[in-house]
């Protein structure tokens, strides 16, 4: 989806000769630009700026005091922990799934593709409720878990699971289209030259898709940190213990603690902005070396080794 679009714009701009066939008159162009800019300003920029204004309403002292609050720190920590688990796991899964889908045929391939999209289609609330249904005290595995003192729901594992579910498709969705376009030629060449399976993967396949992977990882990370709905269902909302940053913002807001709520919200917004910057950088980088991989050097390396 997003990846496909990015991929297309990437190839279009690399085909440098392309000049627009039709040129709109200047007033139309300015009207279009004006409409989109004012729309973005009204619905995105001003509210975003509002978050920071509210956060600093009572001065920088109150802002930093709010962030040093133990419950706020616990929320930041939990959010980072959840992202640190969810992102690598989904990265490995995404690569495995893309490899399976793009590089060979098997029964149930279409089913797998559909399943990968499931978290995009299902409302996050439902993703949370699924886990309650399975792991809740009266759920399918509830009695077993309770007997063995294993806490999943209303504890960190439940939050990680819910986050994994909603961030599941990001890496796979970015990598699959690219792998499909690239086909198997490079791998076949590598294997003909005597490379083993792992060697082929790490020296040919992975470098080929690295920017797509990174792009997927960044999107996955953004969603993992920002997820509210699914996490809210399984969190139990224990202040300072099972509240991620988005949930903690809600708690603070509901306690009339507006400065603290917006301080945490602005931190979350900053993380998002950093992610966006990183994403733009990756897009810009990935646009350039598209055609050159696997570089001749790799194949040369391989042939030298044998």
């Amino acid at each position: 989806m997003a990846g496909t679009i990015a991929f297309r714009t990437g190839s279009a701009s690399s085909g440098a000769a392309g000049r627009p066939a039709i040129t709109e008159p200047a007033p139309v162009r300015w009207a279009l630009i004006g409409v989109s800019l004012s729309f973005l300003g009204l619905f995105l920029l001003i509210p975003l700026a509002g978050v920071f204004v509210e956060a600093f309403r009572k001065g920088a002292g109150a802002f930093f005091a709010a962030l040093r609050d133990p419950a706020a720190l616990a929320a930041v920590k939990l959010t980072l922990l959840v992202a640190a688990i969810a992102v690598p796991v989904n990265c490995v899964f995404g690569l495995a799934a893309s490899w399976a889908i793009a590089k060979f045929n098997f029964v149930g391939k279409n089913l797998l593709i559909t399943l990968i999209d499931l978290p995009f289609a299902v409302s996050p609330v439902i993703s949370g409720l699924i886990y309650i249904l399975v792991y809740g005290l009266h759920g399918w595995l509830g009695p077993f878990l309770s007997a063995h003192d294993i806490e999943i729901i209303f504890a960190v594992p439940g939050i990680v699971l819910a986050t994994l579910f909603v961030t599941f498709p990001f890496v796979a969705r970015e990598v699959i289209p690219l792998m499909q376009v690239q086909g198997n030629d490079d791998e076949e060449a590598a294997i003909t030259l005597g490379a083993g399976g792992l060697q082929t993967f790490f020296r040919v396949t992975l470098p080929n898709v690295k920017w797509a992977v990174l792009y997927g990882v960044i999107l996955c990370n953004a969603r993992a940190m920002g997820e509210f709905g699914a996490v809210s269902v399984v969190s139990g909302h224990i202040r300072g213990k099972t509240s991620t940053m988005p949930l903690h913002v809600e708690i603070l807001y509901n306690e009339y603690n507006f400065v603290a709520a917006f301080a945490v919200a602005s931190l979350l917004a900053l993380l998002a902005l950093a992610t966006l910057a990183l994403k733009s950088f990756v897009e810009w980088r990935s646009r350039r070396p598209f055609a050159e991989a696997p570089d001749a050097a790799v194949l040369e390396d391989l042939s030298h080794e044998h």
Binding site: R203, I238, N254, V298
Partner: protein, 371 residues
């Protein structure tokens, strides 16, 4: 080749950044030292699962209890809080949220934990004094400053052009009290005296009055533009987002909104009749047995009835069960209002819940019609 190395570098940098972030937080957050290690005895942790408007109350009560417990036993106690709509919170406890104690908006929700979850004995309400309600409250109106729509009583809520804010009775305990208070008002208006409800001779009039009450409550909900899931959500809708002319609120929530958000913005209006709301508290047997926290959990709830507990309760605008312990200045703030009991008018919580709020009950019927 160089590029794939760069990917590895980027990945390493990302991972390092996250790890460093975690360490930094540990250092910043760890300055207070872990209570587990500093205590002579191992610290104990309680989880109090509560409803929406008690946030400020327990923020003050918890440290007071921790001091008391430390002085009494030498043990540190950390009390964790979870807040939300009472129905939602009860649901979470049933699904396995490990609450040592619950302090919810109404007895029905704790009944649900006992019945559906089997997590505490069915007779829980007789374990503590005053029906296990260390504080009571009632429902009042919060209006915009100087009452521009001149809302004085329940009738005025259904006047043309009046927008009423109340949460969803399906998920919020407070909303159920709002709904029942409105119903009781309509009954009283029709019957003159609520004692008529229990006179067999007047069964026909009572039936007619119930029908009128149903019409009144249905009409009232046609004036509700937003149904939030909890009391605090509704307060924010009314106070922060500026929607509606009147908020049906817990008395304590209304006082808090006036104090926190500006006495120059809102007025409290006390209707002619309201309801005696008894938010009860209970220890969750199954959880405390497993965690070995029964003693401290029971003491925690008993401390709500102590002089200090009652003083704190009154300070946060809950009507204390034992007013003699509270500061008289705090008590003066509570207006006189006739508060009907749910047992007298609705035959108890279980009956009220089944008639009005269960799936397919009266609320579902009138709310569908009013949509």
């Amino acid at each position: 080749m160089a590029d794939s190395k760069r990917v590895v570098v980027v990945a390493v940098v990302l991972v390092t950044a996250i790890v460093l972030g975690l360490i930094l937080i540990r250092i910043l957050g760890g300055s207070g030292a872990d209570p587990d290690e500093t205590a002579g005895k191992r610290a104990v942790t309680l989880l109090n699962v509560s409803y929406d408007p008690t946030r400020e109350l327990y923020q003050e009560f918890n440290p007071a209890f921790a001091r008391y417990w430390k002085a009494k036993t030498g043990q540190d106690v950390v009390i964790e809080q979870s807040h939300g709509g009472a129905g939602k919170q009860a649901r979470a406890v049933i699904d396995g949220l490990k609450a040592d104690v619950v302090t919810l908006a109404l007895a029905y929700d704790i009944d649900a934990i006992a019945r559906q979850g089997g997590l505490l004995a069915a007779d829980w309400q007789s374990r503590l004094p005053e029906n296990s309600a260390p504080y009571t409250s009632t429902i009042v109106f919060l209006v915009r400053k100087d009452n521009p729509k001149s809302i004085r009583d329940w009738d005025d809520l259904v006047k043309p052009g009046v927008e009423v804010i109340t949460p969803n009775p399906k998920t919020s305990g407070g909303a159920r009290w709002n709904y029942l208070a409105a119903w009781a008002f309509a009954l009283k208006k029709e019957l003159g005296d609520l004692k008529a409800l229990h006179h067999p001779a007047q069964a026909a009039q009572v039936e007619q009055a119930q029908a009128r009450a149903r019409e009144f409550v249905a009409e009232l909900h046609k004036h509700v533009p937003v149904l939030d899931s909890g009391a605090r959500g509704s307060t924010n809708t009314f106070a922060q987002r500026g929607i509606g002319d009147v908020l049906l609120a817990w008395e304590n929530e209304a006082f808090l909104a006036v104090n926190e958000l500006g006495p120059d913005k809102f007025d409290i209006v006390v209707p002619s009749i309201s309801i005696l709301a008894e938010p009860p508290v209970a220890v969750i047997d199954k959880v405390v047995e497993k965690k070995g926290t029964r003693e401290v959990a029971e003491e925690y709830l008993k401390y709500l009835y102590s002089p200090e507990g009652q003083r704190i309760v009154a300070r946060h605008y809950y009507r204390p069960a034992y007013p003699q312990h509270a500061d008289p200045a705090d008590l003066e703030r509570f207006p006189d209002v006739e508060r009907v009991r749910i047992d007298e008018v609705f035959g108890g919580w279980r009956k009220a819940q089944e008639t009005h709020f269960n799936d397919g009950g009266v609320f579902d019927q009138i709310y569908q019609v009013s949509k």
